[in-house]
Amino acid sequence: MQEWKRAKSIAVLLTLVTCVGSAVGQAPASTTTLQNQVTTNNCSAGEPVALNGTVNFQVAVSTDPTSGANSFTVTASNNLTGVGQTTGSNYVASDSSDYIVSSTQNATEATVEFKSDLTSQGSAPSLTLIQTLDIVVDVSGNVSAQVTSNTTQCGN
């Protein structure tokens, strides 16, 4: 009888741990995969770069109990490699940026520019990568995010 109680307690505990784990550990997220997406180059010293990798969107939603306003925090982060279409040089980009919208509405939609260094791994000059992101988030944590353009600049 005691063993049965112990097994039951362990089962309840495991269930609780699993539930808490999924509530805390799984923030709403969305990942966009780029496969050979070639940048539009606006840098005289640069070149179009074919990008591969991911852009990840992590979202946290909360509600201010006083004002009732919903706060949507979106962290965009990229992890990309690239190949220069003129020189064959390799590039990497790994950066993140936060965008926080507080709204009295139940959803928010923003278009933002996400800048990161596209660092050359060789003799080619490094570039600034500008990714235009369309992000829609609602209070339920539903996320719809897209990378709508990739351009490179010299950085000035």
Binding site: S97, Q105, T111, D138
Partner: protein, 176 residues
């Protein structure tokens, strides 16, 4: 629909607050022709004078920056009634460090916020938007460049008044 028009008709007043306590104010403007494609523009030039520590050099140097942040806003009422706030932050900066190395920062960043994304009536455009603007300071010669990240807080109240605050000091990252 009349109520929605009335809300848009209240106009969009832009009040820009940068680097408190200094602030600039303009008489405001309205979004014309609700329900049709219309755009109203507003610009603000904000002089900047500040110093920052460049830890990308060894030893660290102090960089004195001058120039301006320049903001372009427009509110746009689409034909379907959607109301958008769009703005572009421009940076036109020059700097000089304690080793007499010159820096140039000339960059921009774009944002667009749809004010009534769930289509509810009225749109109640009460929004706070915190952004991280990134721009480069290109150093003269072999001195490392810097990437500056500056947080801004853009607020729109129920009467379409907009304020912009520079939040905290810029974060500097080495980028060459």
């Amino acid at each position: 629909m009349f109520g929605k028009n009335l809300i848009f008709g209240l106009g969009l007043a832009i009040i820009l607050v940068l680097a408190a306590p200094a602030f600039a104010q303009n008489p405001g403007f309205g979004c014309a022709a609700p329900g049709s494609n219309s755009t109203v523009n507003f610009t603000l030039h904000q002089p900047i004078s500040q110093t920052l520590t460049n830890s990308c050099t060894v030893p660290s140097t102090t960089v004195t920056l001058g120039g301006e942040f320049f903001f372009e806003f427009h509110c746009e009422t689409k034909a379907n009634g959607d109301f958008h706030e769009h703005w572009t932050s421009h940076y036109n900066l020059t700097g000089m460090d304690t080793n007499n190395i010159k820096y140039v920062g000339k960059d921009s960043q774009n944002y667009d916020l749809k004010m009534d994304p769930d289509g509810t009536f009225p749109p109640v455009p009460t929004e706070d938007f915190r952004t991280n603007d990134k721009f480069k300071l290109i150093a003269q010669g072999p001195t490392p460049d810097m990437t500056m990240t500056q947080q801004f807080h853009i607020k729109v109240d129920a009467n379409n008044n907009v304020t912009v605050e520079k939040t905290g000091d810029p974060v500097v990252k080495c980028s060459k």
